[in-house]
């Protein structure tokens, strides 16, 4: 708990006032940010925000307004008309639902199975543990995209083309998740607690359920977030295998790939597809940032 609630990123700084003079001489690190530091960072953040802001501006304008010079930079009042148009002209609602089903089931499953495997790797003794762990980590380096043709053939054989299972099943557990949980549980669950559980007659699965899962909650939240975002944003494999039963990213790409593209419509779709992720990010951004920095130190 403490590890993730207080990643190095958010550790409390010593009181600033007594050190101010020393800092001005440059002594003591990190230095206080100067006006230029803030200016540069604000410019970078503005650059990061702009494309998203722009898609919002276009989504709220009429199609004619988009072709104006100089460009319109202020949101207009047509956002809801455009959203209605997206749902009328494409099967966007179905695509959104598909994406929620896919991302939701992958997230739950990845968290469950990664925690289970992480528990075994971090806390249980068994022959070949080290070797299997190295194998598991090594698999994350295998570029999956390159096996796409046989994978597609396999899905055809299983009759899973155009079915959500084709996207869900291969994503049910990830090497990253296993590694992440192994690292976390190694520190977060005291061996004494597990031994006490065993004394009380718990089976190993009982230990997992009653001791490990509750202890894994903070890390599970971060892993779940990452998994959901990744599954939601996945494009290439769904494009190949779900031609007629699109997820939201695939629907978006077909919206954008007409020969005469209606930009207002397309960027409204972009906004709709990004919105769920954006809401998650605004609410839980601190955990996401902390999780990335945490993972970086361990990795």
């Amino acid at each position: 708990m403490t590890v993730l609630a207080n990643p190095p990123a958010t550790r409390t700084e010593p009181p600033a006032a007594p050190r101010r003079r020393a800092n001005r001489r440059g002594f003591g690190f990190p230095r206080r940010g100067s006006v230029w530091t803030y200016a540069a960072l604000l410019a970078i953040v503005a650059g990061s925000l702009f494309p998203l802001y722009w898609s919002f501006v276009v989504s709220s304008q009429t199609s004619e307004a988009v072709a104006k010079t100089p460009p319109v930079l202020i949101p207009g009042g047509h956002l809801f008309d455009n959203i209605a148009r997206v749902f009328d002209s494409t099967n966007f609602g179905k695509a959104l639902l598909n994406s929620f089903i896919v991302s939701g089931s992958i997230t739950i499953s990845v968290v469950f199975f990664s925690t289970l495997a992480g528990f075994a790797f971090a806390k249980l003794k068994f022959r070949g543990r080290k070797l299997l762990l190295v194998l598991a980590i090594g698999t994350s380096m295998v570029p999956q995209q390159l096996g796409i043709i046989p994978l597609y053939m396999l899905m055809t054989k299983l009759g899973w083309t155009d079915q959500l299972a084709a996207v869900i099943v291969p994503g049910l557990v990830t090497a990253f998740g296993v590694f992440f949980m192994t690292q976390y549980l190694g520190r977060a669950v005291p061996d004494e607690l597990l031994e006490a559980g065993r004394m009380d007659g718990c089976t190993t699965f009982g230990l997992y359920w009653h001791v490990v899962l509750p202890a894994a909650r903070p890390a599970a939240a971060v892993l779940g977030l990452f998994t959901f975002m990744q599954a939601w944003n996945d494009f290439f494999w769904p494009l190949v295998v779900l031609q007629n039963n699109a997820t939201v990213q695939v629907a978006l790409s077909s919206l954008a790939s007409g020969y005469t593209t209606d930009y207002t419509l397309t960027l409204t779709g972009t906004l709709l597809a990004t919105l769920p992720i954006l809401v998650i990010f605004i609410v839980l951004g601190r955990q996401i940032v902390g999780g990335i920095m945490q993972g970086a130190i361990k990795g």
Binding site: E13, R31, G33, P150, T204, L267
Partner: protein, 304 residues
């Protein structure tokens, strides 16, 4: 009682395997097996339209590939976009991490702002940028027009399309890498800086003599990861074309290898040929990842 003891022992010894088996099973079926099977398919004349009929042709697909001008074109494009995106991206990330490593107000918000591009999808980002890079009404051409440049038809030329696609990659990944660098920077002991300060080292000297050498493992990590990703780039060039044709522009000016593989496999349905391309790409990625690792280690060593 004896039965219970046996069951307990069985549980303790056997259950760990049960817990890790889902991962290896799924990875085996949906990760490893397809990759290896790609190798087998690549030695066949295998066309989906023939109803799964296939014929062993040995190295014919590889021979054809090496003589295919489109293949070499896509390889050149991939390398060009990779260099154009990776180098500025990692340098900018290092600088942003350095900025973020100051004592700052609104620290979390700034970090979130920098990371924001990374949480958006490739599809969304590429669509927005394709519009910004539009020839007639794109904002970038409008801005360039203000300083008397342009208008540029970004999709039309090799250099301009590569630059535009690299911009999309840079925009999406710089902040992510910056946070990874930042985490490493914060793990560097403060005494190193204090000692350097006493010796009269300037802020720039401290950055190059202390920060960068200490980040060496992280720099290697990010370089290898961006290379593996950069060489497989497919969604950006596919969507940047604005139509659903996987040729990467009318003259294939921005078709990458992965996109060429997709075209051959899922538009021409030449599974054997596409598999040969996939295996070649896999090999190229492995070579680059290793070369990258050795090279970055060397460079970072020299700076110490």
């Amino acid at each position: 009682m004896a039965l219970k003891a046996t069951l307990n022992r069985l549980d303790a010894k056997g259950s760990p395997y049960l817990y890790v088996v889902p991962f290896f099973l799924l990875f085996g079926i949906f990760g490893l097996y397809p990759l290896i099977y790609t190798g087998y398919v690549s030695f066949n004349d295998w066309n989906l339209l023939d109803g799964g009929e296939h014929q062993w042709v040995g190295l014919a697909n590889y021979r054809e590939m090496l003589q295919d001008a489109y293949f070499w074109n896509s390889l050149g494009n991939t390398l060009s976009i990779w260099v154009l995106s990776t180098v500025p991206q990692l340098l900018a990330a290092l600088w942003i991490a350095h900025l973020l490593n100051h004592k700052l107000r609104a620290r979390t918000s700034l970090r979130m702002g920098v990371l924001l591009p990374n949480i958006t999808s490739i599809v969304a980002v590429t669509i927005v940028f394709t519009q910004l890079f539009g020839r007639d009404f794109g904002m970038i051409n409008w801005l360039l027009g203000l300083v008397g440049v342009g208008p540029i038809d970004w999709q039309a030329d090799t250099w301009s399309s590569h630059l535009a696609i690299a911009t999309i990659v840079i925009w999406r990944w710089t902040g992510y890498n910056a946070l990874i660098y930042l985490a490493s920077m914060q793990a560097i002991p403060h005494d190193l800086y204090e000692a350097a300060e006493l010796d009269g080292a300037s802020s720039t000297q401290q950055f190059w003599r202390i920060t960068v050498p200490n980040l060496r493992p992280t720099i290697i990590f990010t370089t290898v990861i961006s290379t593996i990703g950069g060489l497989q780039i497919i969604a950006e060039p596919l969507l940047f074309a604005g139509t659903s044709t996987p040729t990467g522009g009318s003259d294939r000016q921005f078709q990458t290898i992965a996109l060429f593989m997709y075209e051959q496999g899922f538009r021409e349905f030449r599974f054997g040929y596409a598999s040969a391309i996939a295996w070649t790409l896999c090999l190229i990625i492995a070579v680059f990842a290793i070369a990258n690792f050795l090279l970055t280690r060397r460079i970072a060593n020299d700076e110490e």
